[in-house]
């Protein structure tokens, strides 16, 4: 089983997208650190806490050069030139900088750099290249699996830490956070709802739900049956974090990391739009563009029924069920999948 895990070969197309995503995130992270250097000065010139011996902490100009190289590495990864080595070097230099000052440590930064490092080990250089033709086909999957494991590990460590902390489990931590954010929610929500969510028991329930969600994300992403629900929950979870807490690039890192859980094979589903309707041809063009993960073969039909979708197993879906299947595999529409699944779950496929 271990040998099979490390020998497995799957389609590599989506790994290129993973590389571009983490190249962009790494570039954004590097620019942020450069801005910090401009705004607050070099950390090595003031109070800092290195994990490495002090003589290994670079000088101010050395750190500036490091940031430039890191930005260059991220940029090369984005355009697909020497991309694996460039991404690996950029991730390693970012990790080195964290070891130079633990005051600069943030979980989201560390996670971004670890995932970027693992992405660099995948055959991510064969697609989404600005220069040179793509080289489609299969390649080793093991490093992409490790990217997934890295995503899960964060959820697992975070949820277990909260679960074993009585203050977190009991709602004390979240109750205070809700109280601190009350002045904002008072402007957005009716008074009765604000009073409702301000009660201690609500914070306790929310804490248990948060812990349960993280545990479910850690495990649910790995099983085909639970994966869509886990991905949907994860999207909602991170949109919620981004709206309420703005944790640097954390939500973007985790959401991009979800690409590692997408089935690598392409165009195993079919979407067909009616050419007999006024909206059909336009929607067909639109959804070809929205199909970022190349999930569908795009077809048209002459019958008046606007939309038909065949899933991976060949089952045909019509009406709301077809829309549900379309949303399930279209990233920008994925948030609509769960509500549509709820209202259409009784509809039998044809």
């Amino acid at each position: 089983m271990i040998a099979r895990f490390f020998r497995e070969e799957r389609d590599v197309h989506l790994l290129g997208l993973l590389r571009v995503a983490f190249g962009v995130l790494l570039l954004a992270y590097t620019l942020r650190r450069a801005q910090e250097l401009i705004d607050f000065g070099y950390f090595g010139d003031v109070f800092h806490l290195p994990l490495l011996p002090e003589y290994l902490v670079p000088s101010r100009s050395g750190f500036a050069v490091l940031l430039c190289l890191q930005a260059l590495g991220a940029a090369l990864a984005i355009i697909g030139v020497l991309s694996q080595g460039a991404l690996l070097a950029a991730a390693l230099s970012g990790l080195y900088a964290i070891f130079c000052d633990r005051l600069q440590y943030h979980n989201n930064r560390y996670e971004l750099l670890l995932v970027a490092l693992l992405v660099a080990l995948t055959p991510c250089n064969r697609s989404f290249r600005l220069l040179g033709a793509p080289r489609p086909g299969t390649g080793p999957r093991w490093a992409a699996r490790l990217v997934g494991a890295q995503i899960s590990l964060v959820y697992l460590a975070s949820s277990l830490g909260k679960l074993f902390d009585p203050d977190w489990r009991g709602g004390a931590v979240l109750h205070l956070r809700f109280s601190q954010g009350r002045h904002i929610t008072e402007h957005l929500l009716p008074e009765a709802i604000v009073a409702f969510v301000s009660r201690p028991w609500f914070a306790e329930v929310a804490s248990l739900l948060a812990i349960g969600s993280e545990l479910f994300l850690a495990l649910g992403l790995w099983f085909a049956r639970t994966r869509p629900a886990a991905l949907w929950l994860g999207v909602m979870f991170h949109v919620g974090i981004e709206v309420s807490a703005h944790v640097e690039l954390f939500s973007y890192t985790m959401l991009c990391g979800y690409l590692a859980f997408v089935t690598p094979e392409l165009r195993e589903r079919t979407v067909s739009w009616s050419t007999a309707t006024r909206r059909g041809p336009g929607l067909a063009k639109l959804f070809q563009r929205l199909d970022l993960l190349a999930r569908f073969r795009h077809e048209t039909h002459a019958e008046p029924e606007l939309l038909r979708v065949h899933d991976r197993g060949g089952t045909a879906h019509r009406g709301l069920a077809a829309l549900r299947e379309l949303c399930r595999a279209t990233p920008l529409l994925f948030p609509l999948w769960a509500p549509l699944a709820l209202v259409s779950y009784r509809r039998k496929p044809t």
Binding site: R7, F43, N107, L146, L153, A157, A172
Partner: protein, 158 residues
């Protein structure tokens, strides 16, 4: 066949080393006061209020002089009066905020650990100050909404 086995072995060894090191990091983070590498997100809703003092000798006694804005003046060895500021060294972290309740990032233990290190660092970097015998911080703490003890940290002249 041999190269395939070698590839599998090297991939497995890498995965083992990578996650082994990371697991060690998480173990370290669970025990480290600032939770570095521990992946403990939103771990506490604690707050601290830091008040800074310098300890000086007056009439053969040691007294604490409050530094509400973190600034003071002291003579050097030649008798020239020089300006000092807490924020000169602690500017890259939230530790420079004095006299005001602030969120304790990564928890109470993390802030106290960082504050002690910042005090030690500050004392190491004011060798010209001939008056200040120690820097002392009094920290009002509140852990997850419950008032905590008043913690006193100090760093003596090295």
């Amino acid at each position: 066949m041999v190269s395939s086995k070698l590839a599998v072995a090297s991939r497995a060894a890498f995965a083992l080393a990578f996650f082994g090191l990371e697991a060690f990091g998480i173990y370290f983070g669970q025990r480290a006061p600032d939770r570095t590498f521990g992946f403990q997100m939103f771990n506490e809703s604690s707050r601290v209020t830091v008040r800074l003092f310098r300890e000086v000798a007056r009439k053969k006694r040691r007294v604490l002089v409050p530094l509400p804005d973190g600034q003071w003046q002291a003579p050097d060895a030649r008798g020239d009066v020089r300006d000092y500021a807490w924020s000169t060294r602690a500017r890259a972290s939230s530790l420079w905020v004095l006299g005001r309740s602030v969120h304790a990032r990564y928890g109470l233990d993390a802030q106290l650990f960082r504050l002690q290190a910042a005090l030690d660092d500050a004392m190491r970097h004011i060798p010209e100050d001939t008056q200040t015998l120690a820097l002392v911080a009094e920290v009002e703490t509140s852990k997850n909404g419950q008032p905590g003890p008043l913690v006193r940290l100090r760093a003596d002249r090295p």
